[in-house]
């Protein structure tokens, strides 16, 4: 196991090798690894010739990324880059796994494409034991997308711009579906800024704590004509709402399904009755529909699932009973005789190839938008710790003996040069905001890098600092790379 991460995380401690790259240099590293694979003659020529397109252009594109240049840009020693390249390419099977360290950058999509290039070079995709694995951070973020909670997709990843697809859904649903994509979350906040979006119904999300540059997000939410929040808790977003619809918990108070990181659909089951006025979310939505003039009745979770199966071919074979019997099925599963699909892209190994060839992408390195200057000399990257979860709405309710994460972690050198010790109070400022925090020293952090979590917005409102520069294709903000300044607070004066 090789871990590539600016921080020496717990995973890095388990790893055979840790490559502590500079924040925002993922594409440089991937291009350097690609060049080394090519120069070491470790390209899977058969796979590249039969299953890919654009290899020659890609090879020329990465040619300038010598080990020395890559080492200089990424901060990773050249030998480690060489060993990673050869180890990955030479392995019988190998997987590239990533999560928000790749996607919470303004170059998010290019970062992913840079990793796809490596899998295509080596043929580590579409085979048992090999693959590209984006690790999902939430129990149903995969399922949400699968169900069509994306601005340009209908359930089952079917394109909203496709006339045939739309006609089928229109027939099933008895309504007209606009062919233009909707807005994703980041675009919604922009639309709020323009005044084009005036009313919002937030279901199970806490953007008033979780958005990058959260002061701006709060201002946008505050400008709305009408804000409805449907949630299990009185979150900060719910506190801003005109109407709060208390909801039953998805995993313990409701019947339904969730889809895990490996595309496995599994049943959730109600184990306890929801408290007070909290209601099943299906019922809440059906009631709103009724007030809007559509009588949906009160469908059960199973009835809704069967409707999904009728419009989403990749779920067609997953009957409620099968999900019950086999404990989870991975899509695509087109018919009831189909066992589900443990890995995707096997078509790339069919000869001749099944479907179109996979393209190499010539992508370039672009440093984080929030640049380091004398005024903001430290790089702040945010992340998660084991016992907490996102804005702490769920994980803050149990007393973990190993709880940590609301401090600003600094390298020993940076703490020393700022005259700071563990426990000192500091003012942390970025181009967007300033908050008070407590200092912790992590001897494993490289000089110039600071880290904190955003699990404790009540004691450390970290997203006031984070950068809302975003990737125009994915809509994800650059949470991983803010520029900050740290100043010691005079405790006596502040007290």
């Amino acid at each position: 196991m090789w871990v590539v991460d600016p921080r020496r995380t717990t995973s890095a401690r388990f790893a055979d090798m840790w490559l502590g790259l500079n924040v925002g240099t993922d594409i440089a590293l991937a291009n350097g690894v690609a060049r080394e694979i090519i120069h070491a003659d470790l390209v899977n020529v058969e796979f590249v010739e039969n299953a890919t397109v654009g290899y020659e252009d890609f090879a020329s594109h990465v040619e300038p990324w010598t080990l020395d240049r890559t080492a200089e840009v990424t901060g990773v020693p050249a030998e480690a880059i060489r060993d990673l390249a050869r180890g990955y390419a030479g392995a019988a099977t190998a997987q590239l796994m990533w999560t928000l360290g790749i996607t919470e950058h303004h170059t998010a999509v290019d970062n992913v494409l840079a990793l796809c290039n490596l899998a295509l070079l080596t043929g580590h995709v579409g085979r048992w034991g090999s693959g590209l694995v984006p690790l999902r951070g939430q129990n149903n973020v995969q399922g949400g997308g699968d169900m069509g909670a994306l601005p340009n997709k209908l359930p089952g990843f079917q394109d909203v711009a496709d006339d045939d697809v739309r006609a089928r859904f229109e027939g099933e649903w008895g309504t007209t579906i606009p062919p233009e994509p909707g807005w994703h979350l980041t675009q919604m906040f922009e639309a709020m800024g323009r005044g084009d979006l005036r009313a919002v119904w937030v279901i199970g999300e806490n953007p008033a704590d979780s958005e990058a540059d959260v002061n701006h997000a709060r201002e946008m939410l505050g400008r709305l004509d009408h804000l409805v929040v449907q949630d299990v808790f009185m979150t900060r977003t719910a506190e801003m709402a005109d109407v709060v619809l208390p909801a039953a918990l998805g995993w313990a108070e409701s019947d339904g399904t969730v889809t895990s990181s490996e595309r496995r659909v599994q049943r959730t089951r109600a184990a306890v009755r929801p408290p007070g006025e909290a209601r099943q979310e299906i019922d809440v939505i059906a009631d709103v529909a009724e007030r809007m003039g559509s009588a949906w009745g009160r469908p059960t979770a199973e009835e809704l699932w069967d409707e999904l199966r009728s419009v989403s071919p990749m779920h067609g074979g997953m009957s409620w009973q099968r999900l019950e019997d086999v404990g989870g099925i991975q899509w695509p599963c087109p018919d009831e005789g189909h066992p589900g699909t443990p890995f995707l892209h096997g078509r790339l190994w069919e000869r001749p190839i099944g479907g179109r060839r996979a393209p190499f992408s010539c992508v370039d390195d672009h440093p984080p938008v929030d640049q380091l200057t004398d005024e903001f000399p430290l790089r702040l990257t945010t992340g998660r710790v084991l016992d907490s979860y996102n804005t702490g709405v769920q994980s803050g309710k149990f007393n973990s003996p190993i709880r940590s994460g609301d401090a600003l972690e600094l390298s020993a050198d940076d703490a020393g040069s700022l005259g700071l010790a563990r426990g000192d109070r500091v003012m942390v400022s970025s181009r967007r905001g300033s908050i008070e925090m407590t200092v912790a020293v992590d001897p494993d952090l490289p000089v110039g890098l600071a880290f904190t979590t955003f699990h404790f917005p009540e004691s450390a409102d970290v997203n006031q600092l984070t950068s809302d520069a975003w990737d125009t294709r994915s809509g994800t903000s650059e949470f991983k790379a803010a520029a900050i300044r740290v100043e010691k607070l005079d405790v006596a004066a502040g007290a």
Partner: protein
């Protein structure tokens, strides 16, 4: 999955049976519906064969063999219910129960003890002989380590180490009767390498490791296992898809376990899945 394995023919309790190569005698017994007691064995852990309640007699073997870890061999002649086996199993239970509180052991343990007519008092008067009696260690809101119920089966050590968590926060320390499960240098649990996954509690067969919520309810006299309903659902945190068994009493979750036969994590969880349910109660 994997290659089909050749069959091995052996005799168990007088019956000729054929089972795939690579199975243990215990596996073979279970395929033949021969009920066999175990304490230190679990389907999701590597056998450490320390408890010896699963011993069987194998013809030609000088000593009884642990069925949980001995692989089947062609022509093997196995007796699971000979006088020697019964005496040995009974003796193991008596030795354990004479020095350890077995009252919270799984119901199957009590059924076996009754089956073999176990009389721990044969080992001496409980007030006079050495026992592992000691106060429970209560050091945080999640775990209680109640070592007067520990039979040193090592399941917790295995679950903390190579078989599940790879955290290595606990190991055996001391020798002979003083052997016990300890953190590094016997530091308090919150100061150890422990990551509070609770997988050690999940595998403990005797109630020596117990969730704090259950411990407190038992102390209050409110723990009522017979009235609890168990519902399987999916964890609310992260994208792994671990299954949770929610143990519910009076419309409140009182304990979370995970099904050992589920392919995603074979019964193991992390701190959030195991303990992060309290937001469902507030």
């Amino acid at each position: 999955m994997g290659e089909p394995r050749p069959l091995v023919q052996l005799t168990i309790d007088g019956n000729v049976v054929k089972v795939p190569e690579g199975l243990t005698i215990l596996d073979a017994c279970r395929r033949e519906d021969i009920d066999t007691p175990t304490l230190c064995w679990a389907s999701n852990l590597t056998p450490v064969n320390v408890c010896r309640v699963c011993v069987v007699e194998v013809e030609g073997s000088r000593v009884l063999v642990p069925s949980c870890s001995r692989l089947v061999e062609p022509g093997m002649v196995v007796s699971t219910d000979s006088e020697r086996v019964r005496t040995s199993r009974k003796m193991v239970y008596e030795l354990l129960a004479s020095s350890v509180e077995m009252d919270r052991a799984d119901t199957s343990v009590h059924a076996w003890m009754e089956h073999y007519g176990v009389r721990p008092e044969r080992m001496g008067d409980r007030d006079e002989i050495a026992t592992v009696a000691q106060p429970p260690k209560v050091q945080d809101d999640l775990y209680v380590r109640d070592y007067e119920r520990c039979i040193l089966c090592y399941k917790c050590v295995e679950a903390c180490g190579d078989d599940a968590q790879h955290t290595y926060a606990i190991a055996t320390a001391g020798r002979g009767f003083d052997a016990h499960i300890s953190t590094e240098s016997d530091v308090a649990l919150p100061d150890s390498a422990c990551v509070y996954c609770g997988n050690c509690i999940g595998v403990c067969p005797t109630g020596a490791l117990v969730f704090r919520a259950e411990f407190d309810m038992r102390a209050d006299g409110t723990w009522d296992e017979d009235s609890q309903q168990v519902t399987t659902t999916v964890c609310a945190f992260c994208g792994v898809g671990c299954n949770l068994e929610l143990h519910v009493q009076d419309n409140s979750i009182v304990k979370v376990t995970s099904p050992v036969d589920h392919s995603v994590t074979s019964g193991h969880l992390c701190i959030k899945g195991r303990f992060g349910w309290q937001h469902a109660q507030s």
